[in-house]
Symmetry: C2
Subunit: 135 residues, 2 copies
Amino acid sequence: MADWRADLRARGYRLTPQRELVLQAVQELDHASPEEVLTKVRQTATGVNISTVYRTLDLLEKLGLVSHTHLSHGAPAYHAATEPDHVHLVCRNCESVTEIDPSLAAGLVEDVAAEHGFHTDVRHLTLFGTCAECS
Amino acid sequence: MADWRADLRARGYRLTPQRELVLQAVQELDHASPEEVLTKVRQTATGVNISTVYRTLDLLEKLGLVSHTHLSHGAPAYHAATEPDHVHLVCRNCESVTEIDPSLAAGLVEDVAAEHGFHTDVRHLTLFGTCAECS
DNA sequence: TTTAGTGCAAATTTTTTGCAAAGTC
DNA sequence: GACTTTGCAAAAAATTTGCACTAAA
């Protein structure tokens, strides 16, 4: 949570109600598409525009306050950086999404760093497959 | 490669030139978006339509002949099931895509299976992060 | 001949952009 | 007051759909 507002200003951006609203919505929703964020925001405030949501999500991501993954076909899913990191398991059969501890991926992340010099962002890691119920 | 044509018919589908062309294009292109598949197909045949490409890719995926991942923001990337399995490393900075050996992920895949009963499709596994050059 | 598949054009859905007005610092 | 940011409406992508026509079996 630190002081993102100060960081925002320090980088020459301005603190607007829209930005606070969008960030708050992402934090409350967990795995929300831009459209869902808009809906959430509009429960509190009126007149916020979809293009502002897109622009704000981009900005918040640049600031490291939110990140996104592709969980389903199509719409990206945003989540707040304040949540504990986790890896996603997406079942392609029943569409369920499970969050698991990222430590399971530690070995892979290390190997990839060692062998390919690649730095993995674990928050974007999603495994597609079949869940226990659908096997 | 087996005999997908026979399998196709056995399931009540028909073998059309478009289907052969789309499959061939995916096999030759490696990581192609529907739009790119269309372009490739049109180098050989004329008049194939984009909606046919979409419908065919869906069908081929259902048959297990191709699969898709989201490598970049936006368009899905299709590849043929005949290629060797591999995991993707996508650099969010320079947009480069590297293919690595899936054995690196074996540990993770096993752990996830053991602890969560989840069967991972390694072909859809993509790691986002920063590549060696961009670190 | 029967039924699936294709082309085409229009409709959707999702995201981006230009620009004047409004808001932040 | 200077310079960002927003809202709005229109543009651009990316997909999907309805339907008459064509073609595979």
